[in-house]
Amino acid sequence: MSGIDDIILRHSHATRDSLIPILQEIQDEIGYLSEESIVAVGKLLNLPTSKIYGLATFYNQFWFQPKGKYHIQICQGTTCHMEGAFSLIDFFEKKFNLKVGQTTRNGEYSLEIVPCLGACSKSPVISINGILYGSITAENLEEILEEAART
């Protein structure tokens, strides 16, 4: 909680304008928006928790459960879709036995579909913990997962 407290303290004079930046900072800090953090932000800005939750669920960026150790984002841009991003989704769902938007039970992997990452020349693109990997094929996928595990 200390990280969240710091963020709240830093924004002690914030208005509603800063709601989204505060939530983003919290997500950067702990990886997701926990129940306590939403309540704390509500207290800070004098807003009902339901409103904040409503806002956070509206946007794609926010997560409400802890992310895995390896957070995998699959680009669903147009070019990536044409180059077969859907089979990547299938692959990951089968491999880790989870659905999009979930985290595996052991907390190792989580899967997210994101709109275009803007790297269309190397589609299909995935991002593991923020590092982008391009030109994914069935052959080099395992290699990339290993590489991600090393870094």
Binding site: F58, Y59, F62, Q76, H81, G118, K122, S123, V125
Partner: protein, 646 residues
Amino acid sequence: MEKIHGSDQILLHHVLSKTSDEQKHITEEKISMLRRQTVSKPIIYIGSTTSSHVAGSKKTLKAVEEYRQEMNVDLEIIEVGSIGLCSLEPIMDVQLPGRCRVSFQKVTGDVVATILDGVLNNFLPSEFALAQYRNPLHQPWFNVPFFDDLPFFKHQHRLLLENCGLINPESIEDYIAWGGYKAFANVISNYTHEEVCDAIDKSGLRGRGGGGFPTGKKWKETLSIAANQKYFICNADESDPGAFMERVLMESDPHLIIEGIAISSYAVGANKAIIYTRNRYALTVIRLEKAIQQAYDLGLLGFNIFDSGFNLDISIRKGPGAYVCGEETALIKSIEGKRGMPNYKPPFPSTKGLHGKPTVVNNVETIANVPHIINNGFEWFNTIGTKQSKGTKLFSVSGKVNRVCLLEVPFGTPLSKLVELAGGVPEGQKLKAVQIGGPSGECIIPEDLQTPIDFESFKNKGLAMGAGGVIVYDDTVCIIDMVKYFMNFIKHESCGKCIPCREGSQRMLDILTAISSRPANSDGHGSLERFKGVILLESMAEVMRDTSLCGLGQTASNPLISALKHFKNEFEEHIFERKCVAGVCRNLRIYYIDVEKCTGCAACAKRCPTNAIIGTPRSPYFVVEEKCIGCGICEEVCKFSSVFFK
């Protein structure tokens, strides 16, 4: 301003055109050094943007650093932006003293040593060479084309992209050396607010976000309203899937955007400006933040800029990801810390926007034009483009093309040129259609590609320009699959305010899914029902277009309607013959077993969920077509790749 000393002072004087006679020599020398006209040691430039990072430019950079250390050579390494040739990345340039700066393509980490070994010893590894920059002061390399001779660059009109890939985006000095911030200094010391608005109005600059609204008019409206606070918002929320023009522009030349914002804010009398960009564009945010900080440090932003009495603060907002926030009223709501749902217009944001104050929302590309117009005059800008659409337009071309790239062409260029410059479709394939404007644009068939790019001619043809994302389809693309993809996107991104958009997109997706999947029973009635669905699609699209509040809902059915118009037979094939010629719709596939390759291991027969595969072990198996549901498990388990689909 008192705090600024030394070389910064020289640059500032240069910006303000106040260079004294004794300073002139030093200034010229500094500018020439920053422009790298004369270099004392070899310089390595490495293209560094999000897409080149994916291609491996970070490894290239590391390899160059290692090379420098290992060989103990004196090299300067500079990270630059992208020249627009995304498919050829990572791109590395080398400039030797006295020689032309030469570019190498596809320089992955492992070939760095080979290239540098060659170039540093005056031998050019021609297999990697791309082109060289023309410079009369430098000796050119033999047998390497110049950039302006390459067809890709020859047919472009690079105005906004002029500096992209050439200068260091993280250095304000580079930008100033190439003429940056001169327009802003000129405006702030010699122009009134009205004069700037007038200049932009006369230039005929129109909004590049898709609407094509005259920018000057918008500004004048805001300027004419008395208010104690006005805002300027730069819309950099590029969430159109397949579009990356703005990202490349912001990553390669962030100071151009900052300068554009500064001039625009001055023009409308706003002293608070906000850049609303995407949270996912991490590098973009970093570079913009750096650029803003540098501008503050040099006194180009902040309080009482150049003693003119004009204050300006620029801040960055990271959009948390919602396509609808590209719409100006939704964007403003998002900045206010609310759900990004569009509002009814009027009142337009130019009269009542952020916190109820007059607010101008402009697209990044529009803003990037402003410094150029001020520098060169509106008469000059009027000479580029067509009668009603002036200037140039950025396009990102991706999809089934040989060269995924970023292009800048003047208005009036035919659409076919874009495909041509992108290297056409892969060999052996045929161009099927071009989708312009992403999920809210139409697909255009090859016969219509002669249409000039221009707001008016697009309007006459019933097309939408969109932001500039161009997706090329070839024969391997199923049009129904793409329409379904876009509809799924709209369904996901619809804010939910208007029922026609929220529910309509869901129902349309349902109908499209029904078309592209195998029916439970194969009687004719089912086909008829699905056909009825397609007819319903058309009327539903009309309702959505007429009754939705914002552009997202109004244009959501564009891809569908245009596809229905041009590719009716493909829809019919899906409905009646249950066949997807391109083989993309997985549920419509029927699998077959190659008799030659099958060894009769029975692996597929064991796994088939509908027992559609029959045969005897150790002799080729056979798929019963009627029973096959196209799940593809047999293809997955076959070790001899004998399973294929039609």
